[in-house]
Amino acid sequence: MADIVSVRDVQKTYDSGFQALKTVSLDIREGEVLALLGPNGAGKTTLISLICGIARLTGGTITVGGHDVVTDYRATRRLIGLVPQELHLDPFEKVINAMRFTRGLFGFPQDDALIEKVLRRLALWEKRDSRIIELSGGMKRRVLIAKALAHSPRILFLDEPSAGVDVELRKDMWRIVDELKKDGVTIILTTHYIEEAEAIADRIAVIDKGEIKLIQEKAELMRQMGRKQMIIELQQPVDAVPDTLAPYGLELGEGGTLVYSYDTRGERTGITKLLSDISAAGLTLRDVQTHQSSLEDIFVDLVQGDAQ
């Protein structure tokens, strides 16, 4: 897949003097769903704002669809739809007029059939004549999504789409992301929820303190996560792995424990055999624990590693 967004050595220092992005480079592939994961203040919204033209670059370049976002902003912005993190809407506008406004603003002639399609897709058609102020928080978020889709963008940015959204709506959102992906739309979403990234992303990027810490295929990450460890605590701590247990590839753990790694998705885990061989070797079990490294661990490791 070709890159549709290319971020090169981008830096951002706000007027306050705060450096929100150090030096960020990132390529987004056409048609993928990329999750940007990172703690509060990591720089996720800043990065999106730079790509969309809301904030000014301090250094570096960004291209979207091959066009520079500063010098050729008309070409880049027409390709992009943005759902902001906050519920930024004119409270007195009617839903349908808000949609028409966005479509016009992005330079497209009015197309009521398309607007109806988008509103129906987001279950807002019944509410088309309601004022924004009369909608619930979740509905307002859906209005923001609908507005971002009013000009059929090729790239959609969702800045924390599931903040303040109930389980059902979140599932709905995932379904919409899925549908858009099928239409070939490239989607970049930021989130604090690791399950969300797991559920819908193709690739995952972790950003912290203005730097990209990791960017990897979700499948690859999941493979790493598929590994599980069993920590075997013995009555009598050992200081070497007994020879009879060599085929299991055991490692010596803390406090004289044995650590066995296995693939949870394998046909056999080999646990039963291992345990019987352990007693055959004359060792007595005291306790057994298992531990699975999750995306969350990887995330916490990355983010904490930096704090030290």
Binding site: Y14, S49, R56, R77, R78, H88, G107
Partner: protein
């Protein structure tokens, strides 16, 4: 040129004006009628004529200017301040629209609104007194230019203002006094000579004077100066907006 964007903003702003119809149209009519009753009828009955025109008729151009200036500034400044305040400005900043198009949308809408109000006030004044307009085309021309230039000025105020107080400050502390001291309700020839000179630094004097000339053919300053003054003011506003556009002043972080 993204004409769709200009139209979208214009439509949005006109919808907003219609939503607040009472505030945007009825209140200027009411206050103008009050001016006619107080200045025109009560005080005017004691003043014979000013520059050969009955006092009631004499104040009509000034009354229109007063409303038009205040309305242009407040409509345009609120128009751009509201999305800044609600955060909805993200959409304007991320749209494939240049600042020229965004400005055009807001300023044309504000100017339309104040033009309509100006014409409604003119219509209302016909109910109170007879007026003949000597140069109707010049009258409309002056009115439109004034609406536009002060909408531009208001737009700048809306971008500059960080809060509601600042938004109200300029119309209240600057525009209204300038209009009152700008010969809206008197001829500046009625002032002592020193004040006549000081008054010449008030841009509104040129507007009111030119506008009054279009009505009655008499003016405090020559029409040429009036046209130059409005054109100059418009250019200054455009230059400031161009600067805002280049630097992203108070809009782009």
């Amino acid at each position: 040129m993204n004409l769709h964007a200009i139209r979208a903003i214009y439509t949005f702003e006109m919808n907003r004006a219609l939503r607040t119809l009472l505030q945007s149209v009825v209140s200027p009519i009411l206050s103008t009628s009050l001016y006619f009753v107080v200045f025109g009828a009560a005080i005017g009955s004691r003043i014979e004529t000013v520059e050969g025109v009955s006092y009631g008729a004499f104040i009509v151009p000034g009354l229109i200017m007063l409303s038009v200036l205040v309305q242009s500034v407040s409509a345009a400044s609120f128009g751009i301040f509201a999305p800044k305040y609600s955060g909805a400005i993200y959409e304007l900043l991320s749209a494939p629209a240049s600042f020229i198009e965004v400005t055009a949308g807001y300023v044309l809408a504000a100017a339309t609104r104040s033009l309509v109000i100006g014409l409604i006030i003119l219509g209302t004044s016909f109910l109170f007194i007879d007026i003949t307009i000597l140069h109707p085309f010049w009258m409309i021309g002056f009115l439109m230019l004034t609406c536009l230039s002060f909408a531009l000025f208001g737009f700048i105020i809306g971008i500059w203002a960080r809060n509601f107080e600042q938004l109200q400050l300029v119309p209240m502390l600057i525009v209204t006094p300038l209009v009152f001291l700008g010969g809206s309700f008197y001829s500046i020839t009625m002032l002592p000579p020193v004040w006549q000179t000081i008054t010449l630094f008030n841009p509104v004097v040129y507007l009111v004077s030119g506008f009054r000339w279009a009505f009655f053919g008499a003016a405090d300053v020559s029409v040429g100066w009036s046209v130059l003054a409005i054109a100059g003011f418009t250019l200054v506003c455009l230059a400031v907006i161009a600067w805002i556009f280049r630097t992203g002043y108070r809009l782009r972080k």
